[in-house]
């Protein structure tokens, strides 16, 4: 190793070889007579299958009356059916080499299973049983209620959770997306009837999408699915109404006071667009140049040049009805203001000057290449297919993604930055010790201070 400047001419890296075409697995798409949409993709390198049964209803559908109810419903779905106890479900899973997850986000509830392909019919039957016959045992609810309250208490000591929760409140106001977690009192108020009601109305075939990837033959898998899910009939839920998110102008700062912290969690964001917006591709590309990738400008600036932080990143976050853009970094307390200055400097640079041809080219290759890495794993294929069919994106979304990214220009990036990197109206959240950072916060706009429970202090 040398540390002195070397006079030897540097050798250029070898050029890339000719690119191989990327083929997404052929898929079989059907809507069964009961309205259940089925998407199957074969991937036979490993003798496993992954399946996800989605319902297009989540916590946003109940946020106005019972925040987190969809999540607690999903938790209970795995804890008993008309014919299986919780213990039997867990033992059945193990016998099939399977993992099960049940969850709910803002827009979607999901039952996810991966297991050995040799047990695929048993796995399908279990998924159908959970989707149709959940029994919501009372004692299981009480245990999970306590679990949820304890985990909420821990979440309220976690800087990244508190930052995300506050930003969603600020950006979404009265819209259901404002609420990412219930209060303890709201968890106390869940009833068995409330959970059953959500389940009965939303876990229905016309509201559902089943995506399966793995070692099977699509023809016979489709037959099995028809046999297993065919007799299931229930109507689609009524669409949930939501008020519009607020409009905001000017920068504001929201400081969440967490005593004793040795870092400041910085998060800034503004409203943006959903995946269905035609501008999504150029936003994604602009984001990767700004702060969405390891080699991005923000990472180079505040990590590799200034050493303020370990893993700063920006991202375009797409929910079904609305999207928002955000950037975050956990930094030592002394540089909270300096970090925000650089975050906005890099946004403004993206908004005022076109990116160089090298940066553009590099970012396009990054986006199109990384998109394809997922084609080699069951989870990657399943994740991309779920996106396409849950968000009702065009059928050729996966096949045309790379071409769409490669067609973007420096002007597209500039336009996306001007539209979505809204530095002048960014809503800023700082989570940390107020004695350490309140003065720095005030440099960026009017400051409101909250405790970990969202109370103004």
């Amino acid at each position: 190793m040398s540390t002195a400047a070397s006079n030897a001419p540097r050798v250029a890296p070898p050029p890339l070889a000719a690119e191989s075409p990327v083929a997404w697995p052929r898929r079989t798409v059907r809507i069964l007579a009961n309205g259940l949409q089925v998407v199957l993709a074969e991937s036979r390198t490993f003798p496993k299958i992954s399946a996800q049964l989605f319902f297009r209803s989540g916590n946003a559908a109940v946020a106005h009356r019972s925040p987190g109810l969809a999540e607690m419903t999903a938790t209970l779905v795995r804890l008993g059916t008309a014919s299986r106890t919780s213990r039997q479900i867990e033992e059945d899973l193990r016998r099939m080499g399977a993992n099960l997850g049940t969850s709910a986000g803002a827009d979607t509830s999901a039952i996810s299973v991966s297991g050995l392909a040799e047990f695929s019919s048993g796995i399908l039957e279990l998924i159908a049983d959970l989707a149709r016959n959940a029994s919501f045992p009372f004692d299981e609810l009480e245990r999970e209620r306590r679990h949820r309250i304890e985990s909420l208490r821990i979440e309220r000591t976690t800087p990244s959770f508190l930052a995300g929760e506050r930003l969603r409140h600020v950006l979404f106001g009265e819209h259901p997306y404002a609420i990412v977690a219930p209060t303890e009192a709201q968890v106390e108020a869940y009833t068995r009837e409330g959970l059953e009601d959500f389940y009965r109305h939303n876990y229905t075939p016309p509201n559902a999408l089943l995506v399966m990837v793995g070692d099977f033959s699509s023809g016979s898998m489709l037959e099995q699915i028809e046999k297993t899910f065919g007799g299931w009939n229930a109507p689609a839920p009524a669409p949930a109404l939501a008020s519009a998110p607020p409009r905001y102008t000017g920068r504001r700062v929201y400081l969440v006071h967490l005593p004793g912290t040795v870092q400041t969690q910085v998060l800034a964001g503004n409203m943006a667009i959903t995946r269905r917006d035609p501008g999504w591709f150029r936003l994604a590309l602009a984001n990767s140049i700004y702060g969405g990738a390891f080699h991005s400008r923000l990472v180079l600036n505040i990590r590799e040049q200034k050493g303020y932080t370990y893993s700063p990143r920006s991202g375009a976050n797409a929910l079904r009805q609305h999207g928002y853009f955000s950037v975050h970094a956990a930094v030592r307390n002394e540089v909270a203001a300096a970090t925000l200055t650089e975050i906005f400097y890099e946004m403004d640079r993206m908004r005022s000057l076109p990116v160089t041809p090298e940066e553009l080219d590099s970012a396009r290759s990054y986006m199109s290449g990384v998109f394809s890495l997922g084609v080699a794993t069951h989870d990657g294929v399943l994740g991309q297919l779920s996106n396409v069919y849950l968000e009702r994106l065009p059928e050729d979304y996966l096949e045309t993604y790379r071409d769409k990214i490669r067609a973007l220009t420096a002007d597209d990036v500039l336009a996306a930055a001007r539209r979505h990197f809204d530095s002048a109206n960014a809503q800023i959240v700082l989570v940390g010790d107020r004695d350490q950072i309140a003065a720095q916060a005030a440099l960026f706009g009017p400051v409101e201070i909250f405790d970990a429970h969202g109370n103004r202090i």
Partner: protein, 434 residues
Amino acid sequence: MNALHIPVEHITLANGLRVVAAPDRTAPIVTVGVYYQIGFRLEPRGRSGFAHLFEHMMFQGSENAGKMEHIRLINSSGGLLNGTTNYDITNYFESVPSNALERVLWLEADRMRALKVDDENLRNQRDVVKEEVRVNVMNQPYGGFPWLDLPPIAFRNWPNAHNFYGDFEDLDAATLEDVRSFFRTYYAPNNAVLLMVGDFEPATAFSLARRYFEAIPAGPPPPRADISEPPQAEERRGAVDEKFGTLPAIAIGYTMPPRESPDWYAAGVLDRVLHGGRAGRVYRRLVLEKQIAVEADGGADMLETNGPTQMVTRLFHKPEYSADDTIAAFDEVIEELHQKEIEPDELEPVKVKLRSDFYSMLEGGMGAYMPRFGLMHYLACFTLFDGDPNRVNTILDGFLAVTPAQAQAAAQKYFVLRNRAIVTRRPVAKGAAQ
């Protein structure tokens, strides 16, 4: 039984670099890794955290690819990259479209041959590492629990017992000369293995590996620190303050049998009987039945370590129960393993699950966008620790052959007080919740 066969080919270059190739034509993608046989267990005394700090320096530039260029060249080839520091290994890996294979090998060879860093890089990465420690340990509920808490309690020999992330004064004391010397000592080709998994012809891959790596000179065999532990006579206990979290937590670690011994396989199966999700005995007893704990999980890093290693159970318990109540309930579960053989109708499903989990690890292992990371990782460990990457095709057999009697005997021998350590995390405040 295990029906999966992974095709594996391997060669050793003249400089001692081992090269392993596993072709997989699922998609036009390759995952490449270079694993060095040096981890935080083996870092120099008085330089806690150095192996990890050094890992950061490997991204700071080499003779023909300056600072950030390594990252930019991988990203702009359409790929992702990372590195991690572990007990006995440090790895650097990339997943890229297959047309970038040659470029990746060039980059990895360049930094193996001629790392080029300066004081400014070192100062910068020292700051970055401190923020990494703050975000992952000092500013998080249960940060470092229990991977940083248990070793100083469980072990007596410094390599096994020190702060692996590093004390800040040790990080501050690190010099460029330390970086240089560490590189010379441990980053020679004869202390490493190069892995390629994915869409290529093995002959082509080997020839590219020769082109870029064969001219790198071998180093003297690196010194091997003595990582053996003196015999333990009694249970060891310690306590750590929990600054943010609101629940008391306990970690219980049993030191595992030596790698590849018959008891090691048996203990690996016992780990899955005890843990292994909600069907595991610990979760079932403490969370579902007795409801003393709110959360319970555990496991052992068996395949990827090559020295004293613990199977660790983590319990987050209700404040209305004491640590002693919780440990007593856990002890009943262990006592049952001593007293009674596992019935076949429990053991067989545990083995099915073990096989299924192994396949999943080979297939992914680091998220959906780092295909075959787990396969690469195991190939590296089997090469460096056991001298045979093909162990990936036979290792399951040892676990699947474990009998109830062998499992019981291993529990009686290893899951005993004189082989365990316990750390408790006690919330210091009522927490933000109150």
